[in-house]
Symmetry: C2
Subunit: 376 residues, 2 copies
């Protein structure tokens, strides 16, 4: 396999932008990534678009050539990848594979979602389509309800507490304050988090990620110049909670992580910081367990003690969660940290970081490990 | 690059199946393809799903792991590809690339769409999302209207006649009669076609493909055993008609065809039969021109004289057009012909065939050339 590097990063701010459409957000991120890479759109040999529900949120399908042409990318393969909340993680995985195996030298991956133009009830309905609609959505289980069931079970099996969950919200809100691209730059206290408006017991408003508009893009190129992609792995599992042996586990995250660590010849202990998929606070706890940062069941106390920075960007909780943009945004943020480009929220001396993207309640997972050139 | 072959083909009948859901159709095609390949679901190293608008038609997203798990395919990369009517062509292209470049040895590509559960007006609205909704759909241009504009212009520029269009409908209906998997097995006369109910002048009911449910799947494997994939190319172009220099051209089809012929080291004259994307009769005329079977503007008269069998399966017109299934179904049908497995509609002595899949009014195109082992 060839070495592959992130040679360009482009993002929009995440937030609620009533005057922006999906395409303009995507194009802004693409133009920023191309400019950062120092190349023009003509250099892009294939275009990978991650988008969860553009057709439902905005009424437009066929989004890959629709976006590509507006960014000046013409005549090349352009497909949209949909894997629920891991849509742009999946697009990145395919793009990375293509460059690593010599299919292309230079490709662009963009993730985008425009969510805030729909009323909240419709947003919840669209998000529920990432689960098993017949088994979960129609009987009434929104995504907060699904993750509330997981949280309750995690509390029961492992002694995880409301405080553990609230501490994750406090940490991520605190981190997000210094990220100029974050949606909600507002510090909160543990008391605020605990007293948040109930959404689905035991989850409060502060346990839930944000409904956001936004886009992120990266340019991948064969070679050692740039932030190196040390590994990327995608796996799948059941979409419906009822099909799982134990709802406190995310087998897709575990298997993707194991594959990625093996490929990078690294262990979880060597990861210096991570962006993980905190669509709900409980999801961050599951993530750090399945990634092997701590033993199963100990994600709450491990997170409480903050042994490494997790979601320094603010995570989905504070940075925002424009669903289809999230996977690429995580990789963009990890890349920025590694190259020392996270002005205002830079971590000191980080060389190896991890990004973990989750689809639905675990049907898809993508784990990517990035490193500074020369680190491995 | 490695040799890649279609080693398993599976289809459902195309039609209107009120008692079948998207997943059951997809699983039926997958089980048929695995059984035809003589392998179990455990042998599948990656799952590629082509689906245009499952979320809009059925309310379910995250379809790749949702379908894969139901077919017994677990723990592997599973993504949904959306490229409008070329969704499963795009999925096939990515899958073929992955096997050709040694990423996987054995993969499964499935295309599926469940359309008939929505009322006709909603179907038209969903299909319009394959075009530029702001520029075309909202002002009122449904897909028949878009292709009617193209047909009018083609008539004006090249002298194409209503009879040329009708002759394509007659041919494809005639062919479909003998395909047991076709949706509408009903021969029509040229007078019937000309007198069809007007849909969008000059197109009548008989110029339009069918709204269908259905699925198709193929197993791809590295090596020479099976029907060889001699070439596959995907390209993109503007989604909106208004952005094109000449609406009678499909630059994405032309560039994908040129790339595919170059890769296969073949010329259009060496293609013995083809399945092309006749979403409307005029689209078949454009296709045979852009593929290089005849000169630009002569697609009507070329088709009239039937120099090679085009859409022997009945095409989208008679076989049916479950949008996301179409790309893989074309490849499945070309493969069946080459291996002599098209019982009842077998073409004699065919060794090299072509499949051409179109997204929207030309934003995406995928061209695949298949051949009998030993032909090249």
């Amino acid at each position: 396999m060839k070495d592959v590097a992130v040679v360009g990063v482009g993002k929009t701010r995440f937030g609620a932008f009533p005057d922006r459409d999906l395409r303009s957000l995507a194009v802004e991120s693409i133009e920023n990534a191309l400019s950062d890479a120092g190349i023009g759109p003509d250099a892009v040999e294939a275009f990978y678009l991650g988008n969860f529900a553009g057709p439902s949120f905005t009424g437009q399908s066929h989004l890959a050539p629709y976006v590509a042409a507006a960014a000046g990318i013409h005549g090349v393969p352009a497909s949209r990848y949909e894997a629920a909340c891991a849509s742009s993680g999946a697009a990145f995985h395919a793009a990375w594979q293509a460059v690593a195996h010599g299919i292309y030298d230079t490709v662009l991956v963009c993730g985008v979602e425009k969510m805030t133009s729909q009323p909240t009830a419709r947003v919840a309905e669209i998000l529920a389509m990432a689960g098993d609609v017949a088994a979960e959505g129609i009987p009434g289980a929104t995504f907060p309800a699904i993750f509330a069931m997981i949280a309750r079970r995690h509390m029961y099996q492992y002694g995880t507490t409301r405080e553990h969950l609230a501490a994750i919200a406090v940490k991520n809100h605190g981190y997000g304050v210094t990220n100029p691209y974050a949606h909600l730059r507002k510090p909160i206290t543990i008391d605020q988090a605990l007293a948040g408006k109930p959404i689905a017991e035991p989850l409060t408003l502060y346990d839930c990620s944000l409904v956001s508009d936004g886009a992120a893009a990266v340019v991948l190129k064969a070679g050692k110049k740039g932030v190196r992609v040390l590994a990327c792995a995608q796996t799948s599992d059941y979409v419906a909670l009822r099909d799982k042996a134990d709802i406190t586990h995310l087998p897709a995250v575990k298997s993707a992580a194991e594959a990625a660590f093996k490929m990078a010849r690294l262990t979880p202990k060597e990861i210096q910081f991570a962006e993980v998929h905190d669509c709900f606070t409980i999801a961050e706890i599951l993530a750090v367990e399945e990634l092997g940062f701590c033993a199963k069941g100990e994600g709450g106390s491990w997170s409480w003690s903050r042994p490494i920075p997790v979601n320094r960007s603010g995570g989905l909780k504070s940075k925002g969660h424009p669903v289809g943009a999230t996977g690429v945004a995580q990789i963009a943020d990890v890349s920025l940290q590694i190259r020392g480009g996270a002005a205002g929220w830079q971590l000191p001396n980080v060389e190896i970081g991890l990004a973990q993207n989750l689809g639905g309640s675990g049907g898809t997972s993508v784990v990517t490990i990035l490193g500074r050139n020369g680190t491995t």
